[in-house]
Point group: C2
């Protein structure tokens, strides 16, 4: 069990590109509830089943288990809600912090998000120049919600 404290931002421009090789993620959900989700994720040759509580306010609780890639592929193709999330993740250091930039494809093409994990809720961070608007806590940007309402179908969103 782990507890995550994260801040999430839109990414502007391309100055972040070239800082890391992207790794391809393919993920879907067996369950998408208000209280918690059950996620299947294939990352390169590895795969994971993750249970994440999504209770607002409090920090989220997460349980992650490695599973055989073959199992994950079956569940992604046959059991998970469609569309799947397909994205490349670029992980690198900037300003003493580890940033994860997710570049989405297919139904969510055009969306690029950056996340940073904090050790406490009031930790100060230095924002790189390519960091745009903060979207921490905006549930539209949760990967789980990008399945039911993909970015390409949003209207009235000022990017």
């Amino acid at each position: 069990m782990s507890v995550e404290i994260e801040r999430k931002f839109l990414v502007k421009g391309n100055a972040w590109r070239g800082k890391a090789e992207g790794i391809f993620y393919r993920q879907g959900y067996l369950s998408l509830k208000k209280e918690h989700v059950v996620r299947i994720r294939a990352v390169g040759e590895k795969a994971y089943l993750t249970v994440k509580s999504t209770s607002k306010g409090a920090s989220r609780v997460e349980f992650e288990y490695p599973i055989p890639l073959e199992d994950a592929e079956y569940m992604l193709n046959h059991l998970c809600e469609k569309p799947l999330i397909e994205k490349k993740r670029y992980t690198f250091e900037s300003g003493g912090m580890t940033w994860e930039v997710d570049e989405f494809f297919h139904e969510n093409a055009g969306l690029i998000l950056a996340e940073v994990e904090l050790s406490s809720e009031d930790q100060s961070i230095e924002l790189p120049s390519w960091i745009g608007k903060e979207v921490t806590g905006d549930s539209r940007f949760y990967n789980s919600n990008l399945i039911r309402k993909p970015y390409s179908k949003w209207t009235n969103y000022s990017r």
Copy 2:
């Protein structure tokens, strides 16, 4: 991944008692969908997370992963739908087959089910004297459905 072919029966009388020590099961569901369920099960000191497809007609597909008991307890207590299923399982041989008898408690007290796993759908089996009505495929007896409609609340069921 495994595929299960099972037949399920009501149990009558007590002639099956004493054939095995019962093991206590405590289980709940993170997700209960028509197509598949995600189950958390604690059995003695062990625990498992299981994904089961529930598609009718075809045999069911099942993925089971051992998880730490501590994780299972957290998910059972905080994330799974209530009430939980609490039962004792008695496993023993009879007529060359392995029988599992589940004796339910709490909201499902009074219900005792016997299951036998077959190697093919047309395998013949010898039914012990304590086997009652067959309920294979009767979805009311699925553990997942015994949460939303516990046995103690059934009306109009001829036992």
